[in-house]
């Protein structure tokens, strides 16, 4: 080989791929303040293997992977290759050791082209006089080898999510990584895209790469991996060969008990129409999606589930109804009255409650105490203020009631919201919105980030509200949740609501999520 190795040379590098190796984390611990994210975690990975790390949100999966990649530093424990302890103090160290990570939120710069993103920080291309065309040719050849189709000259911001993920994988390969860590790689993909990803990963594994997949989705772990480790509350519960364990056994390990039987949904005849959208449109804004001709009806006592891959207009739908986005055409009708483009305050006052998708950002003020957060939406009702002066006494009573009824764990009503766990913050939002006795409840991803017990609780609350005659718009990317709770299901794709055939199954919903017209040029 010449004085400078070619990329294919590194990637195929016969020595490298022929030799077996073993990469491992040994007794790694990490805590953030009082929260123990990793407690003596040990996981290992062999050449040519796909190892799934399975666990619920908050089980500590992402933390251990970030430690392997040097983005977090462990409090104790170490990382090793073939029993040689590695010092990984930064991603630069990890990259030098042949480790690469595909983050859940892609580490790409939207304004730069694919090529620029690929060579960012890459020392091999760091010279001032680097011939960009030669580099591009090398990378194109590498992409072809793994059948990863991507246009190197397009800005990353213009790529679809699936394409961006392929850029991330290609980035790892360009750096000659042998270990790939994928953090929740399927969260943003359609079922069909997930299949394509699986094929790419299998191909990489056959080429003696080692792959960690971090996921909270059981079926994908079963489908994609050779071995699977389960994490719960910062610890590794166990590691098994995937073909020697069943799904139900894994669930037991994940949650520490069997899943609760799915919520029972009493038979109800829906009442009168509460919400009606007539050809509602929202124009696209910088960085935000659009809605096109939405027609949707929700009756009292009915749960309408909106399925779809994240970012297909679900958030815009919720915001348009709640008065947070301008409706450019069409009508939003609440109980017979048009509320199109009313100020958000009036829509809320008319009986709409909204559990926003991003609770941290929209639903609470992290530096306010619980009391101030409890009255966030209703601070102008006479219950909490007279002539513009806030009634502290009423606020305190109300907050205490929410804490009591919803069993919010906190150090007191004056504790800053920031000091609560994510689940308890969520409980406060839910408690606050339900206490408003709404006619319409918009719940966006109401169980994201919760543990199984809390999910069950939220589900039962939604069913209870349904029985009380509330119209509920449930927006979720968790198909299981949609199917379990909804009276009717619609799918959103590219800003449109797609009708579904009767008796939808996971497969038919999945097909609707992807759309039949344009299947993306997949990685396989």
């Amino acid at each position: 080989m010449g004085s400078r190795p070619t990329l294919q040379g590194i990637a195929r590098s016969d020595q490298a791929s022929a030799q077996p190796w073993r990469f491992e984390a040994v007794n790694v611990s990490k805590s953030y303040g009082a929260v123990i994210a990793n407690d003596a975690v040990s996981v290992d990975l062999n050449a040519g293997e796909i190892h799934a790390l399975l666990g619920e949100n908050g089980a500590g999966k992402s933390t251990i992977m970030k430690i392997l990649y040097g983005m977090e530093l462990p409090d104790a424990g170490h990382v090793a290759i073939d029993d040689t302890v590695l010092k990984i103090g930064s991603p630069a160290d990890a990259i030098a050791a042949g480790i690469a990570m595909v983050h859940q939120h892609f580490m790409l710069v939207p304004s730069l082209t694919v090529l620029e993103n690929l060579i960012l920080g890459n020392r091999r291309f760091g010279g001032l006089m680097t011939d960009r065309r030669a580099v591009a040719a090398e990378i194109a050849a590498l992409a072809a080898q793994y059948r990863i189709e991507v246009d190197l000259q397009r800005p990353v911001g213009k790529l679809s999510v699936g394409e961006q993920q392929r850029v991330e994988i290609l980035k790892a390969l360009v750096r000659g990584a042998r270990v790939l860590i994928l953090d929740e790689p399927t969260a943003v993909l359609t079922p069909q895209e997930i299949k394509a990803l699986g094929l790419t990963l299998r191909e990489l594994a056959q080429d003696r790469h080692g792959i960690f997949i971090v996921t909270h989705k059981l079926p994908e772990a079963m489908e994609l991996s050779d071995r699977v480790s389960v994490m719960r509350r910062g610890r590794v519960v166990g590691t098994w060969r995937t073909d020697q364990i069943t799904s139900s056994e894994l669930v037991m390990h994940m949650v520490g008990r069997s899943l609760p039987a799915s919520v029972s949904r009493p038979q109800l005849t829906p009442g009168s129409t509460v919400l009606e959208l007539l050809n509602a449109c929202v124009a696209a804004q910088a960085g935000r999606g659009e809605l096109r001709d939405i027609n949707l009806k929700i009756a009292a006592g009915e749960i309408v589930g909106v399925a779809g891959v994240e970012g297909n207009g679900q958030q815009e739908l919720a915001e348009a109804i709640a008065g947070l986005r301008h409706v450019s055409a069409g009508d939003v009708i609440l109980c017979g009255d048009a509320i199109t483009n009313f100020p958000a305050a009036e829509i809320l006052a008319a009986g709409v409650a909204h559990i926003p998708q991003d609770r941290h950002r929209d639903g609470v003020v992290l530096d306010f105490p619980l009391t101030d957060n409890a009255i966030l939406v209703d601070h102008q009702t006479p219950a909490f203020q007279q002539r513009g002066i806030i009634d502290r006494h009423a606020v305190i009573q109300f907050t205490d009631r929410l804490i009591d009824v919803f069993q919010i764990r906190c150090s007191g009503r004056e504790a800053p919201m920031r000091s609560l766990s994510g689940g308890n913050q969520q409980k406060l939002v839910l408690a606050r919105e339900l206490a408003r006795r709404p006619r319409l409840l918009i719940a966006v991803q109401p169980t994201r980030g919760l543990d199984v017990g809390a999910i069950d609780y939220v589900h039962r609350q939604l069913i209870e509200q349904r029985s009380a005659g509330v119209a509920i718009l449930l927006i979720s990317t968790e198909l299981d949740e949609i199917i379990a709770l909804s009276d009717r299901i619609v799918v959103m794709r590219e800003g449109r609501v797609t009708a579904l055939p009767d008796k939808p199954t996971i497969e038919t919903i999945g097909a609707a999520m992807l759309g039949s017209a344009d299947r993306p040029a997949g990685a396989a």
Binding site: R361, V364, I375, V377
Partner: protein
């Protein structure tokens, strides 16, 4: 930690201990600039203390100097609490002063009991109007209020200098002609310059504190400052509140200008403000945006400034030593991340 100490007591006193430590450290650091010019920093600081607290007159001068600083710091605070930077209180102060002088000539022949309140209201309105410009540009067009308010400061000084040198010139001094005596603010302590605007400043601080803590308007303002997305989600009239609070910020600074003219100079001199607006920023930051603490911090910094005048007269050390000291203190606060405010 060999001795068990009641942790509640140590918790309570920790901010004071930290604060004292920071002040001493910044004094030591600032003292370094005195060494090359052959001056003993301790002597200089002693002169400042003497100048600030050495006599009854010095004490009242501290309060006189604190008055506009309290108002400009409140101006910074009310804007900052809803997430906006008001670096323009210096310019708003000038506009308040210009309005005060303009009416103070009393060309409309207002009766004495009417004249003073009208001047005050006009000063507030002029400051508010001057602040409304950056507010509108920010809220409507997304223009950085940091840059616009600074530019407005330069414009305000330009206009004031023009008036002093041109239309309103007195002829002899670099100041406008005097206002009528009916427009003078009452003096609180005879024989000093301490005037009624000091009480206005204290009242404004108390009022702002109440509004922020106990009213719906204050609650909405704080929510916007902490998390504007949550405020929108909760249906708050975000732009309206930001506009009102930014205008009020200008009005408070305008009142500072009113006090300087009606209470102290009785005309509009060139260089009316020795940077009260910027000192107001320092006060707001050190007071952690709390209006009541701002009164105390403003008094401390006013004393520092008054004392430094004495130091300059006695030892020939430039008064700009004080701005160095103030800035070093805040930089130390930022570096050590003490006094960080939450909520």
């Amino acid at each position: 930690m060999s001795v068990h100490v009641d942790s509640a007591v140590t918790e309570r006193w920790r901010p004071f201990a930290q604060g004292t430590g920071l002040v001493l450290a910044s004094m030591a650091l600032t003292g370094l600039v005195l060494l090359p010019i052959g001056i003993n920093p301790i002597g200089a600081y002693a002169q400042i203390l003497k100048g600030a607290f050495g006599s009854v007159n010095a004490l009242t001068e501290d309060l006189v100097y604190a008055t506009p600083i309290i108002l400009t710091s409140l101006s910074v605070i009310i804007a900052f609490r809803c997430g906006l930077w008001n670096l323009g209180s210096d310019g708003q102060l000038y506009l308040g002063a210009i309005a005060t002088v303009g009416l103070g000539f009393n060309r409309f022949g207002m009766l004495p009991p009417v004249l003073l309140p009208v001047m005050a209201v006009a000063a507030f309105a002029a400051g508010a109007a001057w602040a409304a410009v950056p507010a509108v540009l920010r809220l409507r067009f997304g223009a950085s209020e940091v840059i616009v308010t600074i530019m407005m400061n330069f414009l305000a000084v330009t206009i004031a200098t023009y008036l002093v040198g041109g239309p309103w010139a007195s002829g002899i001094t670099p100041a406008t002609a005097p206002i009528v005596s009916a427009g003078f603010l009452p003096i609180l302590v005879p024989g000093t310059r301490l005037n009624a605007n000091f009480l206005v400043a204290i009242a404004a601080a108390a009022l702002l504190s109440f509004v922020l803590r106990r009213t719906v308007f204050g609650y909405q303002l704080r929510t916007i400052g902490q998390n504007i997305d949550a405020a929108r989600y909760a249906g708050m009239p975000v732009n309206k509140i930001r506009f009102v609070s930014f205008s009020c910020a200008g009005g408070l600074a305008g009142l500072a200008g009113f006090g300087e003219v009606a209470g102290i100079y009785h005309n509009l001199p060139n260089g009316l403000s020795p940077g009260f607006g910027y000192t107001g920023i320092v006060v707001a930051l050190l007071a952690r945006l709390n209006p009541l603490w701002a009164v105390i911090v403003a008094f401390a910094l006013a004393a520092l400034s008054v004392g430094s005048g004495g130091m300059q007269r006695a030892m020939g050390i430039p008064v700009s030593l004080v701005s160095i000291l103030e800035a070093v203190l805040i930089l130390l606060v930022l570096a050590t991340r003490l006094l960080e405010r939450r909520a």
